[in-house]
Amino acid sequence: MKLALVGVSHHQAPVELRERVAVDLDAASRLASSLANGCEAVVLSTCNRTELYLACEHEAPLDERGGQALVELAGDEGAALAPVLYRLGDDSAALHLFRVSAGLDSLVPGEGEILGQVRDAFEVGATGPLLDRLFRQALYAGRRARVETAIGESPASVPAAAAALAQQVFGSLDGRGVLLVGAGKMSELTARNLRSRGATIAAVANRTLEHGEELARQVGARAIGLESLAGALAVTDVVVASTSAPGFVVDVAGAAAALRARRGRPILFVDLAVPRDVDPALSGVDGCFVYDIDDLEAVVEASLAGRRAEAVRAERIVASEAERFREWQASLAVVPAIASLRARAEEIRATELAKAEARLGRLPEGDRKLVEAVTSQIVAKLLHLPTIRMKEAAAAADGVVYADVVRHLFGLGEEEQQS
């Protein structure tokens, strides 16, 4: 069976082209069905790529068919799309999908969403034996890369870094209170990230109460004015500040009373504002941790560097999985010969037993069953080693030669040819 991949991704194509060929799951399912047409097809479409995976028994011009489908999908941008399409076959196509699944081909190495997107594409695709095996193994390779390396562990954005720091201070964020100071976009994103990890957005403090109320409604919190900040500090664990105020909104003197009321419980200040909202001197106070936007960006940068280092290990895992797939795919070349050989052996066994029926018929039922079992075992044992050797030879690219030799030696298929 042949495997082909035709696709377009963020490496070569700008978003203007990618958006032309992006499809949702329903459309991906329809496109896969129409492309399959007796073969197998899966359409993987994410914000960074649209890829068509095609497999067919016969030597069909798969990549031409796929390329044509993508160009048609792009409509009037088809001419611009054609030069940036990439085409891969068999081993390279499999390795590519495994890398995609492990997040190694993503903008942010190890990003977690892609694994789910590969699974969704697989589930709505028109799969058969080859693509079924390919996608299952790709999902396994993606999971292995994430479990056996730390490629997906560290945060890749400022809001995620802020949430990870909060977890570093408090552990589980379940029930932890978050105070948003300012109603900016960045603080909203950070709040959502903290909320997704179990934290509760307790209040939104804003100079203009109406703006604060809008965000408060979205995140299920109450809105307060900046004058109530000191009281709110005493009962929240994480403060996310992002106002456009020219000076410090939270200073040491203002926070002192609140910190005393906390009785030693730690508090994390995430200051996303420029100019800064939180007095950095608070960092010197026991139990106070202050991170400004530069600190968070440095954490993200270090984290991405860590991911890139882990990517080297993940590449090894992906390569080993791709090799396993190659061996399996190569073994397909000898499967018909093995099946014919086993069928021939079984036929001989059954024929010989039938010839001996006159004598076997007089045997008790138990003995008859024993003879059946013994002859079956002899056939199975005789064929076990040749089967293994043929599969090994297939993995080493000699499979077709071995299959021909077996067919010749055992006269497999000759009777059909004669008839």
């Binding site: 730390a150 560290s154 945060p155 870094a161 990870a164 720091l165 977890q167 570093q168 201070v169 408090f170 552990g171 906390r262 009785r263 030693g264 419980r265 730690p266 960092s283 026991d286 139990g287 941790f289 991170y291 600190d295 440095a298 954490v299 940068e301 270090a302 984290s303 860590g306």
Partner: protein
């Protein structure tokens, strides 16, 4: 036989101490090797203690070196309960070098061999066991406090590589060290009560005075933690100071007596 078992325990603890240092570069093989070192070492030391118990005529851990041997076993055993989880591996960096060093001291002092001992009373054995277990718990609490101080420093310095190491969260370390200290204090109290049964006027010595002082400091720390919020950095410093006191003063008073 007993002397032979010291070496696998020592080598395994030493290997764990080195391997946990490797964990500082990031989670991976070094940490797993460290954990296996702790497990194998603890099993070897358990076998050593069993052989000592069987072959000795009396209580084999009555001397300071023997007590140290038992103490190391208790510390590592307590660490094994949850310290080997991936997130707590760096706690091993605070615990295992100390355990290895103390086992060497026990071995050098003859506490890992088998010899005829005076038969002590049953109460004295319980007293010694409880006191050692109490100090082992205190050592573990201090290990967590030390890890707290190190991690707090990294957070305060806003170390960019902060998230690359798997370290228990600060608040969790604070709570666990307090719990371990509380359990240790209860065990120490039980040990003291049992010791009172065989206490005679004139027995009071410097070691007892130091132990009482340590008990009072830890108890006060725990009360202040509950009542006025003495937690986090200040509580961790208190625990480290207490263990420093134990490490310096108790051996001196023991040798003096």
């Amino acid at each position: 036989m007993a002397e032979l078992l010291v070496w696998p325990a020592l080598i395994a603890y030493g290997e764990a101490a080195f391997a946990y240092a490797g964990e500082l570069r990031g989670p991976g093989l070094a940490g797993r090797l460290g954990t296996w070192g702790v497990r194998i070492g603890w099993l070897a030391q358990t076998a050593l203690l069993v052989v000592q118990a069987i072959d000795s005529d009396g209580f084999p851990w009555g001397t300071w070196a023997g007590a140290l041997n038992l103490f190391v076993w208790l510390v590592v055993g307590a660490y094994l309960i949850w310290g080997c989880r991936p997130r707590y591996r760096l706690l091993g960096l605070a615990v295992m070098p100390v355990a290895a060093a103390l086992l060497v001291a026990a071995w050098a002092g003859g506490g890992t061999g088998v010899a005829a001992r005076d038969e002590p009373g049953g109460l004295l054995v319980v007293h010694v066991g409880l006191m050692l277990a109490g100090f082992a718990g205190l050592t573990l609490a201090t290990g967590m406090a030390a890890l707290y101080l190190w991690q707090e420093r990294r957070l305060k310095r806003r170390d960019a590589g902060l998230l690359r190491l798997r370290v228990p969260p600060l608040d969790v370390l604070d709570r666990l060290s307090a719990r371990a200290a509380l359990v240790a204090l209860v065990v120490l109290s039980c040990g003291m009560v049992v010791g009172l049964a065989s206490f005679e006027r004139g027995d009071f010595d410097a070691a007892m005075a130091v132990t009482l002082g340590i008990w009072a400091v830890v108890a006060t720390g725990l009360v202040l933690r509950r009542e006025v919020g003495l937690r986090g950095r200040r509580f961790a410093v208190l625990l480290v100071a207490v263990l420093a006191l134990v490490a310096v003063v108790l051996p001196l008073t023991h040798f003096a007596s």
